[in-house]
């Protein structure tokens, strides 16, 4: 853990539920998710497509697209509830207290305004600075994120920057009002591999310097392994495992996490076959009873088909799996195999 655990948490998410009403019934996309983020900590939220990680991030920033909505639970930032704030109040929180970085730098920046103008606008919205002071701050930020020739580039338009440079500008934009928390949703996925490393290093360094906590949402375990202090693994709208990153990556306690880590090809011993988890993540309309992962789990037992496990202690991490409960999983049940 990078920070002392007796600090009050910066962000507390308790029993969060995100629903999508459709004409065929209500879909539960995030189901009873709880976690905390300590000040200055980097929490990775990792999962495959459909696991609900982006929706969790959006719910925290307050940018859920209707008809999706927060249907239960609470989100507290520095002790204050933010999930039920009216629009105007949330607008002040967003930007000043929580910053956001999204995947596509091209659509995150307004193509019609210069980069400097967008920075200054955001700064002045949240901080009581004069135009000149705001511009100076913008300039300093651009230099901090590594834009060469910031004095002239501050007046350039987004299309005049390359992909990696644009993402740096987006990071500057997210940091400019001095937020305590940044929610970054797949910040490097759209970038080339060599640029990814640069951006990750930048994000990590800046957040450490400013003392900003980061909620890093991604499907890329490699990014998490290098950047996060703790990681939460999501599956079918729930958290399957959460713990210090080293422990989760190297000594996974949940069968899904184990399977996931096994299927990621990495350098080291060369295998012909990668470990695979048969089957696929269930659709929101077909989430199985009991533990959502049970149809694909080689270690499942009778209890897994009936009772849904909550997060329980498993060494230094917590995992939602009956294997770590004194009662065990019950009689073993053969898994159903069906490839994705």
């Amino acid at each position: 853990m990078a920070v002392a655990s007796n600090n009050p948490p910066l962000l507390e998410v308790k029993n969060l539920r995100v629903e999508f009403p459709t004409r065929r019934g209500t879909l539960l996309a995030v189901d009873d998710v709880s976690f905390d983020i300590a000040p200055g900590e980097v929490l990775g939220v990792v999962g495959e497509s459909g696991a609900g990680k982006s929706l969790t991030g959006n719910a925290i920033i307050g940018l859920l697209e209707p008809p999706g909505r927060v249907a239960g639970g609470e989100i507290r930032l520095e002790g204050r509830r933010i999930d039920n704030l009216p629009y105007e109040e949330m607008r002040k929180v967003r930007g000043a207290r929580i910053g956001a970085i999204f995947q596509d730098p091209l659509t995150s920046l307004n193509p019609l305004y210069s980069v400097g103008r967008q920075l200054v606008e955001t700064i002045q919205t949240h901080l009581p600075l004069s135009a000149a002071a705001a511009r100076q701050r913008a300039l300093d930020l651009l230099k901090e994120v590594g834009i060469p020739g910031a004095e002239s580039r501050i007046d350039h338009y987004p299309h005049q920057f390359s992909g990696g440079m644009r993402q740096r500008v987006v990071i500057a934009l997210a940091l400019c009002a001095g937020p305590r928390l940044i929610v970054a949703d797949e910040p490097t996925t759209a970038l080339d591999v060599s640029i990814q490393a640069q951006i990750i290093a930048l994000l990590k360094g800046l957040c450490r310097d400013h003392g900003t906590a980061v909620m890093l949402v991604t499907h890329d375990m490699g990014v998490i392994a290098e950047t996060a202090d703790r990681v939460a693994v999501m599956y079918a709208g729930r958290i399957a495992e959460i713990g210090p990153v080293r422990d989760v990556v190297k000594h996974a306690k949940h069968p899904y996490t184990k399977g996931l880590m096994g299927s990621i090809p990495s350098l080291g011993v060369r295998h012909d076959r990668l470990t695979q988890i048969d089957g696929a993540m269930p659709r929101l309309t077909e989430i199985p009873r009991g533990c959502a992962f049970n149809p694909r789990c080689a270690e499942r037992g009778a209890r897994c088909l009936i009772e849904r496990p909550d997060l329980m202690s498993a060494g230094t991490s917590r995992a939602a799996c009956w294997l770590h409960d004194r009662g065990g999983v019950g009689a073993p049940v053969a898994p159903e195999m069906a490839d994705a």
Partner: protein, 346 residues
């Protein structure tokens, strides 16, 4: 260069493909703009032996996807030749001869959502090559073939009645693979077949492809930007940068003793899942635009070992340790090749 005794199954020699992206004639004349040519593929030499998996890696814009399309004939080459089992693909042939050659090579695409016609049933999608090449004797034979193909990719014959949108990304890629195998090809060009898939699905598809290769004695040209994937399934690897091949080597050699500075840089960017604490060394700069590539060796602006010659002269591919490398620094002995190891502890 491996000695030609393996009998190259597929050989690309001096392959080039340029795209004219100039503004329309009227605009150019009125504004005095010059023609703009993108040298997407600028002289590639590759040899693939039968039964091996040759992977082509590089970042976006390096031209690897263009190479894939050149090989299967979607683009005509601007220069150079493609030899398939000794046959020059550019040579004029009769319809039936061309068809016979085309039948033996097929392609798998990256995007599982765009590679299947959304209005066709899966049965028809897979049956199309069989029908086009006239491989089935009658309707019953056709149905049997399609059923077998679906089973081979671990779907069921009943899936043939469904439409693509009823399947997940991984399942669609399986359908794509089944379609590619329908004409009983010997050579498959795979353009980033798993890049759009989740990690656990990627593992299933890669395992499937390796199994199929063994069972059907296929040869693969595998295009990817993911070095870790390439590490596991390739026999030999070629690294591309801005349309040129900077290094070719057997897989183990490339990963343990990388030579070209760009190869080393790419290997450094592979994330450290072993948690050895290996720092990724971020490299300066970004890939330049292919419209105006740097002079001489196109990597020189980002290369820590560049000298004056690198700025002026394009390096030639030198044979070395079972592969080739195009680098002045290596040639001149300025750059030592060291051994890398990756902690295998997990």
């Amino acid at each position: 260069m491996p000695d030609g005794s393996a009998g190259q199954f597929v050989r690309l020699a001096g392959l080039k493909r340029y795209f004219d992206v100039s503004a329309p004639w009227l605009v150019r004349t009125l504004e005095g703009r010059p023609r703009q040519i993108v040298q997407a593929v600028d002289g590639i030499d590759i040899e693939i032996a039968k039964g091996e998996t040759f992977s082509l890696v590089g970042e976006s814009g390096c031209g690897k996807s263009t190479v894939a399309r050149l090989v299967v004939g979607l683009y005509p080459p601007t220069a150079g030749s493609i030899l398939f089992d000794g046959n020059d693909m550019a040579q004029r042939r009769s319809q039936s001869e061309t068809a016979a050659l085309r039948r033996r090579m097929q392609m798998i695409f990256q995007d599982p959502y765009a590679s299947l016609n959304p209005r066709w049933r899966v049965f028809d999608i897979i049956a199309e090559p069989i029908r086009a090449f006239d491989l089935a004797k009658n309707k019953a034979d056709l149905e049997k073939r399609v059923g077998d193909l679906l089973r081979q990719v671990r779907l069921t014959p009943a899936d043939g009645r469904k439409y693509p949108h009823e399947f997940s990304g991984g399942q669609r890629q399986r359908i794509s693979i089944a379609r590619a195998l329908a004409s009983e090809p010997e050579f498959l060009v795979c353009d980033e077949p798993t890049s759009a898939l989740d990690v656990s699905v990627q593992a299933q598809i890669l395992n499937l492809m390796v199994d199929l290769q063994r069972r059907l004695q296929l040869t693969y040209l595998f295009i990817s930007h993911n070095l870790a994937v390439v590490y596991h399934i390739s026999t030999r690897v070629g690294v591309m940068y801005l349309g040129r091949l900077v290094e070719v080597a057997p897989t183990d050699t490339l990963f343990r003793r990388p030579k070209h500075p760009y190869t080393r840089m790419l290997l450094d960017t592979i994330p450290d899942l072993e948690m050895t604490g290996r720092q990724r060394a971020p490299v300066a700069g970004e890939v330049p635009s292919p419209i105006n590539p740097p002079s001489g060796c196109s990597f020189h602006p980002r290369c820590p070992f560049a000298n004056e010659r690198c700025k002026a002269e394009r390096p030639r591919a030198l044979p070395i340790e079972g592969g080739t490398v195009a680098c002045h620094a290596i040639e001149e002995g300025r750059l030592a090749v060291d051994e890398r190891s990756y902690d295998a502890g997990r």
